[in-house]
């Protein structure tokens, strides 16, 4: 009984989200149309409650609540769950404001969104590959539905099908790898696997193959090249709020698992996968940034840019030190705010001009200067320019690689410094295409003279994102300190 209570307490944020989802689903059935308009507000309330529980109830009690079967609870997971909850909340705001979407089955949409948020929180908390598999599939299945939500839209359907096929394929490969791991190590607990791998002198080839197959699934979730192809299609096809959501939240959750798998269960030096991961990171950032250049659709541009960002973040994993892990946490926080903020601007624009083509952003500064300025702020942050949150994240992640290189006798023989150089060059490329958008908005005459107005709630969401982007950029110390201490308690790279 005591155990059950402990479990409930430990999972209270997840349960709050699930509960809200069920209430929304049920309320949708009984409410009238005017009542349904308040469903998003209910969701926001539930998410806020979950955030409060997560941050103020679970966080202080991490050590005592941490001992749950198949689960892993630590300040580290609380950090990621916060990010996911914020992302979900901002997505609800976007959904509420997106024209042509908020009227269609609001109960189903919102409950699915909340279900997936809960799934991501479970994924973050997984200590067992069983939980990893289950919650990844959970997120995946809901994401396919959300992308294909407007089912009579050909693009949405196509995006969903592609997403689905690649996702199912990747997870089939991943689960096969998991089966091999189970056979080799006799367990699928991440903590336990780390202990066994640490003990074993020489690791068999099959283990590496199994880890490789496992990372296919993770790579898919994170949209690492070559498992990235679903992301642009799903983002362009899906509704804008969903695009915003799937470009941020699943990645945050996937990163939490990735850090634990490559930090705790299979440290990169034990399984000699640093080289392969470096190649993947390099390919991811380069491909993402280069492909972003010719895009004409803003959502697709942001999709490729988010692929590029994952490439940068992987550097933190490869660096395999605490600075890197903490840097990833900060990066994720920054990324949540700046990417969702950018999408909020996209929603504001598409509501008015009904287009997501970059050419239609011409002269936006004259049609609505605040939106244009905010979008520029988010683009600056995405481009990693100070004084924005994006700069801090990049700085920490790149710094971790430099730190890792400095610990070596011959820094240039390791991939670290080369990765950093490549990443910096990539950032320059990325500034080019971000600025192209800014150029359209500020230095091009508008096609129509009408203004673009936003609504109060959207301003609230964008304002929160902008304030956070700037605050983290100007006063980064609290976030950095929190991230570093959250990482300190992990057993990363200790085995």
């Amino acid at each position: 009984m005591e155990n059950t209570l402990g479990l409930l307490a430990a999972l209270s944020p997840e349960l709050a989200v699930l509960y809200t989802a069920l209430v929304v689903l049920a309320a949708d059935l009984v409410l009238t149309d005017s009542g349904r308009r308040h469903l998003p507000n209910g969701c926001l309330l539930g998410l806020a409650a979950a955030l409060a529980l997560n941050h103020f109830y679970v966080l202080p009690r991490c050590p005592e609540l941490g001992q749950q079967p198949l689960l892993f609870l630590a300040p580290f997971t609380v950090f990621f769950k916060d990010a996911i909850l914020v992302a979900a909340g901002l997505t609800v705001v976007l959904y509420q404001q997106q024209k042509g979407l908020s009227g269609i089955h609001p109960g189903e949409f919102l409950s699915l969104l909340l279900f997936s948020a809960a799934g991501m929180m479970f994924l973050v908390s997984s200590d067992d590959l069983l939980m990893v598999f289950l919650s990844m599939e959970f997120i995946g299945i809901i994401s396919y539905v959300l992308v294909g939500y407007i089912r009579d839209d050909l693009k949405a359907g196509e995006g969903a099908v592609k997403f689905y096929l690649i996702g199912a394929f990747a997870s089939a490969i991943m689960v096969y790898g998991m089966s091999l791991l189970y056979g080799l190590l006799g367990t699928t607990s991440i903590t336990e696997m780390g202990r066994l791998v640490g003990q074993a002198g020489r690791n068999p080839m099959l283990l590496k193959i199994a880890v490789l197959l496992l990372s296919v699934g993770l790579g898919f979730k994170l949209a690492v090249v070559p498992f990235h192809s679903w992301l642009p299609d799903a983002m362009e096809g899906g509704p804008t709020p969903v695009a915003a959501y799937i470009s941020v939240a699943p990645k945050a959750a996937g990163l939490a698992v990735l850090i634990r798998i490559f930090g705790e269960a299979f440290p990169l030096d034990k399984i000699q996968m640093a080289g392969m991961l470096s190649v993947l990171a390099l390919a991811t950032m380069t491909f993402g940034n280069l492909m972003a250049i010719p895009q004409r659709n803003v959502k697709r541009l942001l999709a490729y840019s988010s692929i590029g960002h994952i490439g940068y973040i992987l550097i933190g994993v490869i660096a395999a030190n605490e600075l890197g892990a903490g840097g990833i946490l900060v990066y994720v926080v920054a990324y949540v705010f700046m990417n969702l903020g950018a999408f909020a601007c996209v929603v504001a624009v598409s509501n008015r001009i009904g287009s997501e083509e970059i050419d239609d952003y011409a002269g936006l500064s004259q049609r609505n200067l605040p939106v244009a300025l905010l979008l520029v702020l988010f683009l600056l942050s995405l481009g990693g320019l100070p004084p924005t949150a994006g700069f801090i994240g990049k700085w920490l992640v790149f710094g971790s690689a430099i730190q890792a290189a400095q610990a070596l006798p011959d820094p240039w023989a390791s991939p670290y410094l080369w990765l950093v150089i490549a990443a910096v060059l990539n950032s320059v490329v990325s500034i080019y295409y971000y600025f192209r958008l800014a150029y359209q908005m500020f230095f091009r005459p508008p096609r129509e003279a009408t203004g673009v107005e936003g609504s109060g709630v959207l301003w609230l969401g964008t304002g929160v994102a902008a304030a956070a982007t700037l605050l983290v950029g100007i006063f980064p110390s609290p976030v950095i300190d929190a991230a570093q201490s959250a990482v300190k308690l992990l057993q990363l790279w200790k085995s």
């Binding site: 001992q67 294909g148 995006g159 969903a160 689960v175 189970y182 699928t188």
Partner: protein, 115 residues
């Protein structure tokens, strides 16, 4: 004598054949069916690993101080069945939605979204 390796090779063969199907079928349904093969390969592996334990001792997974789930592999396989079923349901519904709009379920007809 049937050893563990026999079961594992059987699983590997299913897995490879499933991949072949996924890569070559033009019909989305064909791909879905092949995917089931891949999931089944993993299930065979789990069941086999679960059956062959080292030294006859039950597999131990630590949690709450208990050393219980000697059937972890089977439980895992059970969840795979469940997930695969749920995934298939959503996939089939998606196929129907696509079919209704496009009147085709051949993957290469899904080519609105590219680079």
């Amino acid at each position: 004598m049937v050893t563990l390796n026999h079961y594992l090779l059987l699983g590997a063969a299913m897995f490879a054949i499933g991949i072949y199907g996924v890569l070559t079928r033009r019909n989305i349904l064909g791909i879905l069916i092949s995917l089931e093969l891949m999931f089944n390969a993993a299930m065979v592996n789990f069941a086999a690993f679960n059956a062959f334990t080292p030294d006859g001792k039950p597999r131990v997974m630590p949690f709450q101080g208990q050393a219980l789930p000697e059937l972890h592999g089977q439980v895992f396989a059970l969840f795979i069945i469940l997930v695969a079923a749920a995934e298939a349901v959503v996939g089939l519904a998606l196929v129907l939605a696509i079919y209704r709009n496009l009147k085709s379920i051949y993957v290469e007809h899904l080519n609105l979204l590219k680079w």
